[in-house]
Structures are given as structure tokens and as C-alpha cells.
């Protein structure tokens, strides 16, 4: 990995490294296939810039891959890497995202800024009141338990197999097919079990280098990172700076809003501009705003690239707008709950930009319930003096349910069949990220086919054996894949009953499926397994079916977070002392897993608010590349989190369910910041609120 932030590799001296016992081969930029690719692209029409190399001689961040050592053991490889001497020509790095707007591009042949705009309505009215805020959000490490890893080998002669704990096998397959010009059907990408991702494993990060070494040597290759490498050399949440200006009438109704966002995507394009524009797409789906202009400026810095990170821009945009609304309310003397209630969307509202309708939007219920249950009005005017100051804050948010309505096609297929023992195999291209995807899908199938969930096995993605599925991304799994599983299970149930009816010569409507048992009109009972065997023998048929599914809706999920903080005005330490999360989830398929998602989302959001930030020195060297220097919220700093669910049924979702995995981290940071600002009477907008920033605000 490059040790310079912006430079050119002049020479690589591997002579000492080659002498290390166990070293097989040392790869350098000369072994790069010479094809530029984009690690986030999964279909050829996607226009994101192809600016990445497997091994580059023009590194543009500390951690950029310039080569690799293939060795018999991990120790030998690491020793050899340490003995390689790389000589660089160094150039001045670009670090600051705002200064980056006017910097020279260090990505030769590519623009330094990518602009995007989403706009509707008639613009800002002339004589309205207006209020402006600028909010900065930090660059963040995903912090999954498992660092990046993958392995590859050749199988059946010419099939390249890559086992990867990833979120989108077809993105990995696409990148490999572009780089190595292999027929796509000879690239087998298998989703491996993973220890978390939060978006960090959505793009093809390690797989190209790993596959390159396997294709070159024919050997099985495992490529893994340690925590430092994972922090500096994979993906991050984009840092952003957003200026929000709201125009409103004297009753507090919003008339127009301007949002101008600079998003720092780091060194490479990856999916960075998609994240910038995803911020804009969320901005028209929470409040009824008759007119709005969102401008996004994606800029490049010599820092770790950004990529997907839980919420995909949604935490950034909501942090900006929800802190803004609180400061606006205070400045213009509105109640922060009232002004939100005046402007929040209603069930059935449309998205004024033409994006899919909002569906059964229950944000107003969430806010009303949250304010009541948190005893907001008892706590909002707490008497505050002395060293420790308390305050409460809240924030609202919305997020999506899949890709439908976006430029990315949303579809999948599944196969489902009964086995001879009555168990069910669901053949799907799913990616279990540790959040309960396969459990949830299994529960849905079990509910329809009336048998115990432990009788259902749901497969994960395998590009040679599983049906197509875009990936476990975009909060689409329960709403989209779950709906597919539900429809297919119903289809399979109808087929099963029809087959039973033929075998037993009973009318379909007299056949009952109950807890793994077929019950006939006469009260005769057969286990599912016996019946499957009888159908095989009598009808020479499998009890199975296949479904192609493409959603025709993409409703919004909603949530409100309420936080109580205590700020130590002498040391600047912020402690979140109480927390409530109210979420419009349509229907909780598995309440325990769902609550688990929310606890974790709150933990990440508090980190973004008060402690997590990847920073770089003037030379572009990462300043906190270990977990002892990069502080995530740990158990002693976690508040009790109370969860309240609003379950009002979302049409299109399985049993009315919709997404939770990403949205539960979206409003957290703003709620915490709003609480701190209320506790201290400050207008802090520069995240995270580390002790130094708090003390600076209090002492000047």
C-alpha cells in the first residue's frame, strides 16, 4: 500500500523481499492488467468514472494498492512487504474538501468536481423569511468486526472462483470480467459468511488483486487486511459540508429550500457521486416543501475513497437539515416539534421530484408518539446550570426501500422447493450481512407454508448456482426480496395443494396445510415429506417453483430519534444519557432482530455525532488508523435505547413490512447535536462534537 498520499512510483526494490522463505511472487504496477475500472459499477451503462487500477504506479492516497506479495504464509508475505523499498516522486496532496473544489485534478483525465442538481418548484419567494445554516459531517470508518478478506482459486479447469464476504456478488463478477476479459459464466463469485459490512464491502475492493494472483499462478490465494489497512485502504462514509437555506412564511410553513452540498469522496470516483445525489433524493420526501433546489458537488481529495456506508448519504443530508430546522426554530422563535408537524408529509403523499410515491408515510405518528413517550415537553426546558448541563434533542428522517425508481434496475428471482423430508430449500442470491436476512426470509416462507422456520434453509448468493439478485443494499431486502419470497411461497403453496389434490383426488379447497402436516377432508393427515414423496412417485413432479420479481413501488420508511445528553462543561465530554427511537416499519417480521438493528444504528449515529472522524495531516497521512485512536461508542458510553414501532402496514411489503437496517442510523446524529445545542445554548454544526470543539465553543 502506498505510503504517500499523492505521488508516482519511481522504482520498487524487491530484492530483499524475494529472499524471504516462502515468497512466491511479488506483484508491482507492471503486473496491472492495464484496464481502468470502477469498483462500484455492476452494469456497463453506468457512467461512474473508471479511474481505479488493481496495482497503480500513480498512488493518490495513503493506502492505495501498488502491489502485492504472494507467499506460502501470512507471516512471510507481511515480512516481505516490509522489506520492499518503494521510491516515490511526491506531489502536494489535496486534503480539504472545500479547497478541493478549486484544486487541480490528481486523477489524470478525470474531472476534479462532479456537479449534480435536483430541482422542482418555482424557486425562492421574494419577501419570505429565510434562515441559513452550514453543517459539516465527518469522514467515517465502517467499523465492521471483520476486516476485509477474500479468497480465490481455480475450479473445473478454467472457472475462477472468488469467495468474498461481500454485499453484491454481481458487482464483483462484473469488475473481474472487465479486468480479466474472462467470459462471465466462468467467473464464480460466492458470498462467504461475513462479520459485518455496513456498506464497506459493497464494492470490489480486494477481489481484483486476489483474482489476479490466482489467474496468474493457478494457486488458491487468500488476501486479508488488518484493522489499520481496513481503516486507511478500503472505503469510508463521505465527509460533507452542506449549506441549507429555508424560506418560510410567518406561520412556519416552508415555502422553498436551497441545499448546497460538497461531498468529499476521497481519492477515487467509486460510487461517490451516487452518494452525493442520494442525499438530494432524500430531501424531498420528509417535509412538504413546494419548491426546492439541491446542488451536489462531488469533490476529490487524496484521502481514503468513500463508498456505500449505512444510509448512503441519508445520515449526512438529514444531519444537515435536521440541525438546521432546530436552529431555525430557535432563531425564529418556533417550537421545534410544532414547526416539524406543520411541514411533515402525510400518508399517500407524492414525491414532488417525480420519484416513487411515499406510500403509507407514518412520520407524523412517529413524532407524536415520540414526543409523548419521551415526555419531551417535561424535559425540554430543564433548568441548567453548574458543571454538567442536560438537554434533549430530536430529529426526523426518511429512507428508501430498494432501487425502484432509481437508475439501477431492481429485480430478483428465487427458486423454492420441498425436499423429501418436508424441509424447504429456498434458492436465492441473498447476502446475509449479519442483520438477519436469511432468518427473515425463512420466517416469511415458514409463515405462508405453515411449518417451523427451522425447516427452511435459505441460500446465499453464488453467481453460478443461485438466481440473480442485485445485492443486499439500498434497504431493499425485506421489502423487495421478502415480497418475492412471500409471493413465491404462496405460488408454491397453491402448486402443492393442487398436486395433493391430484394425488389424493380431493378438492383443493378441502386440503389444509397445518404445521408441517397435510390434513384432508376426512381428517387424514400426512407429513409434508410423505406427500412430497407421493407426488414424486405418482405425478413424477417436483414440489417446487420459481419466481421472477420486480417491485413496482419504493415507499419511504420513517423514524424519529429523541436524545437526552449531559455535557461536562469543564472537560467537554458529551454523554448521551437517554435515547428513544420511534420507527415506521410497516410491520416487524422479527422484532428482536429489528431492535438489534436499531441499537446498532444508534451506536453508529452517536459516534458520528460526538467521536468518530477520520482525519489526515497536511501530507495526507491518516492520523487515526487504529481503534485506539478512532473512537467508536463503546458499551459504557451507550445510553439505554427504547424502541417504539409504528406498524401500520406498507402496501407492497411482505405482511406490510418495510426497511429498518439503514434508516435507524439516519436521524441519530442530528438528535444528539440538537440536544447538545439545547443543553449549552450553542449553535454547533461542525461534527463530531469532540471535547476540544465543545470547550472551544464554551470558552471561545
Amino acid at each position: 500500500m502506498s505510503s504517500v498520499a499523492n505521488g508516482k512510483v519511481l522504482s520498487i526494490d524487491s530484492s530483499k523481499a524475494l529472499k524471504v522463505p516462502g515468497v512466491i511472487k511479488i506483484y508491482t504496477p507492471e503486473d496491472d492488467p492495464g484496464i481502468s475500472f470502477n469498483s462500484a459499477v455492476f452494469l456497463p451503462d453506468q457512467t461512474d468514472r473508471r479511474d481505479e487500477r488493481v496495482f497503480t504506479d500513480r498512488p493518490i492516497f495513503v493506502g492505495d494498492a501498488i502491489g502485492a506479495v504472494l507467499a506460502e504464509t501470512d507471516q512471510a508475505a507481511r515480512k516481505a512487504v516490509a522489506l520492499i523499498k518503494v521510491e516515490y516522486e511526491e506531489y502536494e496532496p489535496v486534503i480539504d474538501p472545500v479547497k478541493a473544489l478549486s484544486a487541480q485534478s490528481f486523477r489524470e483525465g478525470h474531472p476534479q468536481v462532479i456537479e449534480g442538481k435536483i430541482s422542482y418548484g418555482e424557486g425562492a419567494p421574494k419577501d419570505a423569511i429565510s434562515f441559513e445554516t452550514t453543517v459539516a459531517t465527518p469522514k467515517i470508518h465502517h467499523g465492521a468486526m471483520e476486516n476485509h478478506v477474500c479468497q480465490s482459486y481455480m475450479d473445473y479447469g478454467d472457472v475462477l472462483v472468488v469467495e468474498s464476504p461481500c454485499q453484491m456478488i454481481f458487482t464483483v463478477r462484473y469488475a473481474l470480467s472487465v479486468l480479466f476479459k474472462k467470459p462471465v459464466n466462468r467467473i464464480r463469485v460466492v458470498k462467504a459468511p461475513m462479520g459485518g459490512t455496513f456498506g464497506g464491502k459493497q464494492e470490489a475492493v480486494l477481489e481484483p488483486a486476489c483474482a489476479l494472483m490466482t489467474l496468474d499462478t493457478g494457486r488458491p490465494v487468500r488476501l486479508s487486511m488488518d484493522r489499520r489497512e481496513c481503516i486507511i485502504g478500503t472505503r469510508t462514509r463521505a465527509a460533507s459540508v452542506g449549506k441549507v437555506t429555508t424560506f418560510l412564511d410567518d406561520q412556519g410553513y416552508f415555502l422553498h429550500r436551497d441545499i448546497d452540498v460538497i461531498s468529499d469522496v476521497g481519492a477515487y470516483a467509486t460510487g461517490g457521486h451516487r452518494v452525493t445525489m442520494a442525499m438530494g433524493k432524500k430531501a424531498s420526501r420528509l417535509y412538504r416543501i413546494p419548491s426546492q433546489t439541491f446542488k451536489g458537488h462531488t469533490t476529490f481529495t487524496n484521502t481514503t475513497p468513500n463508498g456505500a456506508c449505512r444510509g448512503y448519504g441519508s445520515p449526512q443530508i438529514h444531519t444537515m437539515t435536521e440541525i438546521h430546522i432546530d436552529l431555525l426554530a430557535r432563531h425564529l422563535n418556533f417550537d421545534p416539534v410544532d414547526i416539524r408537524m406543520k411541514n411533515l408529509v402525510y400518508p399517500g403523499d407524492l414525491d414532488p421530484t417525480g420519484a416513487p410515491p411515499l406510500g403509507n408515510a407514518r412520520i407524523r405518528d412517529c413524532l407524536a408518539i415520540g414526543v409523548e413517550s419521551f415526555r419531551w415537553y417535561d424535559r425540554v426546558n430543564m433548568v441548567n446550570n453548574g458543571r454538567y448541563r442536560k438537554g434533549v434533542g430530536l430529529a426526523c428522517c426518511t429512507h428508501g426501500n430498494g432501487y425502484y425508481g432509481s437508475p439501477y434496475p431492481d429485480f430478483l428471482s428465487m427458486a423454492m422447493r420441498f425436499c423429501e423430508d418436508g424441509s424447504i430449500l429456498v434458492n436465492a442470491g441473498l447476502h446475509e450481512l449479519g442483520n438477519g436476512t436469511t432468518t427473515t426470509i425463512g420466517q416469511i416462507v415458514a409463515e405462508v407454508l405453515d411449518l417451523s422456520p427451522d425447516m427452511i434453509h435459505v441460500t446465499e448468493a453464488d453467481s453460478q448456482t443461485a438466481p440473480s439478485d442485485v445485492g443486499c443494499v439500498a434497504s431493499r431486502v425485506t421489502y423487495v426480496c421478502g415480497a418475492c419470497a412471500l409471493e413465491l411461497a404462496e405460488k408454491l403453496k397453491a402448486r402443492f395443494i393442487s398436486q395433493i389434490s391430484q394425488v389424493l383426488d380431493e378438492p383443493r379447497e378441502k386440503i389444509l396445510l397445518r404445521d408441517g402436516t397435510v390434513i384432508t377432508r376426512s381428517g387424514e393427515a400426512f407429513s409434508y415429506g410423505d406427500m412430497v414423496c407421493r407426488i414424486a412417485k405418482t405425478l413424477r413432479q417436483e414440489v417446487g417453483d420459481y419466481l421472477h420479481y420486480a417491485p413496482d413501488k419504493n415507499p419511504a420508511s420513517f423514524g424519529v430519534h429523541l436524545a437526552e445528553v449531559e455535557v461536562d462543561t469543564m472537560t467537554g465530554l458529551v454523554r448521551v444519557t437517554d435515547f428513544m427511537a420511534v420507527h415506521d416499519v410497516g410491520k416487524a417480521i422479527n422484532p428482536k432482530l429489528l431492535n438489534g438493528q436499531i441499537y446498532g444504528g444508534v451506536q453508529m449515529g452517536i459516534g458520528m455525532a460526538i467521536s468518530e472522524e477520520l482525519t489526515y495531516d497536511r501530507k495526507g497521512q491518516p492520523k487515526n488508523s487504529s481503534l485506539s485512536r478512532y473512537h467508536m461508542i463503546n458499551a459504557p458510553d451507550m445510553p439505554p435505547v427504547e424502541v417504539i414501532l409504528v406498524e401500520e402496514n406498507e402496501p407492497g411489503g411482505p405482511f406490510g413490512a418495510k426497511s429498518i437496517g439503514e434508516i435507524c442510523t439516519v436521524p441519530t446524529s442530528a438528535a444528539v447535536i440538537n440536544a447538545v445545542n439545547r443543553a449549552l445554548g450553542t449553535s454547533l454544526t461542525d461534527l463530531p462534537l469532540v471535547p476540544e470543539r465543545i470547550i472551544k465553543a464554551l470558552r471561545g
Binding site: K79, S628, P691
Partner: protein, 282 residues
Amino acid sequence: MRACRPSSLDELRSVLGSDGEALKLIAGGTDLVIEVRAHPEREYSLVDLTSIPELSLISVEARQLCVGATSTHRDMETSPSVIKHATAISMAASSVGSTQIRNRGTVGGNLAHGSAAADTIPAMACLEAEAVVESCTGNQTVHSIENFITGRNSTVLEKGQFISSIKIPIREGRLSWFAKVGSRRAVTISKINLAASFYPDIPNKPVKIYIGAIASSPTRASKAEEELSRLISGSGCKDSFLRALSDTVADTIPGRSSLPYKREAIKGLGDQLWDHVKEVLR
């Protein structure tokens, strides 16, 4: 990498005598293992001290508390003798890292690593502790904790030497205290810390206050000591006390980018110390 594990002090001395130059001593390894992993190209020759029983004893002898060098932070956190006679060390040890780190990391290792942010060192300094250093020939030298660290990650220790114990004088009527501030409540490196010892019932006995994590060695806060003495004598002004602490920080790290924060944060720790002493006096 080579490693050996002597099981007695004699064996250790003979190992150190034979090949003293290239050896690295390892106890809990909470610092050294990180270094070893970061430098796979280096050939390490490690001597593991954790199987030498004498080095991990905690005992009270002749008006002093003797803490063996390989006593862990967990040992100091829980030892009744340390809690009683060296409360500040126990408090400091309990605030270090995670449970796992405290179970591994040792008092001697903490000292030998010479980190400016080490929590137990200002606590030891305020109790006038001394480190007993032995060489392979069996020579013993005693160093005050205050002068043990000579610079960034460097100490008075020479090749072939090892810390055998820390000796803390037991003084009648003396209490001690420690607190720190980091980026979060637990599992955090000190941005700044504060340790003090005092005699609540004996007004003319000396108060000792040390600030840690602002210089390579703990920094004595003499002005603040005077003000806390006044409190014990029945007067004293909290504001003057906090200002004195803050001034010591400002004088120690003039112009450093961390100064604006640390000169304020020390007042927070001072506030806690002042209130604690007042509570004890009541």
C-alpha cells in the same frame, strides 16, 4: 522471532548476561506485541518475564508497599493492599484500557514503555514511589518515578537491566486520588490526567500533585499543591487552585496545539479533586 521464558530471577539474569544487547523484555505485551506486528521485518528475541513468581508479588514490608513489576493492572485494581496504601495507583490502573488489557498489561511494562500518557505513572509519582532496577550482575539501583522517564518512550533503563518492583512508602494518614480525561469514558487514552496525595488530618504535611500526559514525565503542580494545602488548613480558594493547575499546563506545553483544550480540561479534573478533598474533610 525467538523467545525464552525464564522461570526464576537467576535464570533471567543469566539470559540477560549472555545476550543482553539484542533482547527485548516482554511481560503483558500490550505495547510490545503491537510493535512486533508492525515490524515483521525485524528479528525479535524476546524474554518473557511472566513466569518468574518473584516479579509478580504484591507485599507489605517494613513500612512500604512492594509491587512486583509483572503485577497486572487488574492486580493493582483489586489488591486490598494497593487499594489501601496506594489508592491513586489502584484508581489509575482501573481506568486503563479494557478489561482484557488490564488483565495483561503490567505495572513494570507500563513504566518501561515510557509512554507520556501512561496512567499509573503520575499516580506512582504522587506517592513518592521508586522503581527498583536490577542488572544481570545482580546490581540493584533505585530510581524515583519522577525521573524514570527521560523522553518520548525512553527511560533510565539500560540494556541488560529490568525493573523488579515498585516500592511505595506507606505513610500514616495519607490518602491519594487519580482521575483522567480521554475521548470517552472507558477504553480511552488519557488526554490529560491528575494524581494527588494528601493528609486530610495533618494540615502541615505535604500535598503532592502531578499532572500526566502533558510531558514525557509527570509534571509536578507546586502552586496547586499550595492551594490544596490551604484547603486542608481550613481556607483555600477553588478558583485559585484551578487557575494554578491550568497555569502549570500552560507553562509546560506553551504553544502546543493541544494547549487550549488541556488547560481547560485540567480544571475539570481539578474540580473533581477539590470536591473530593472537601468531601473527605467533612
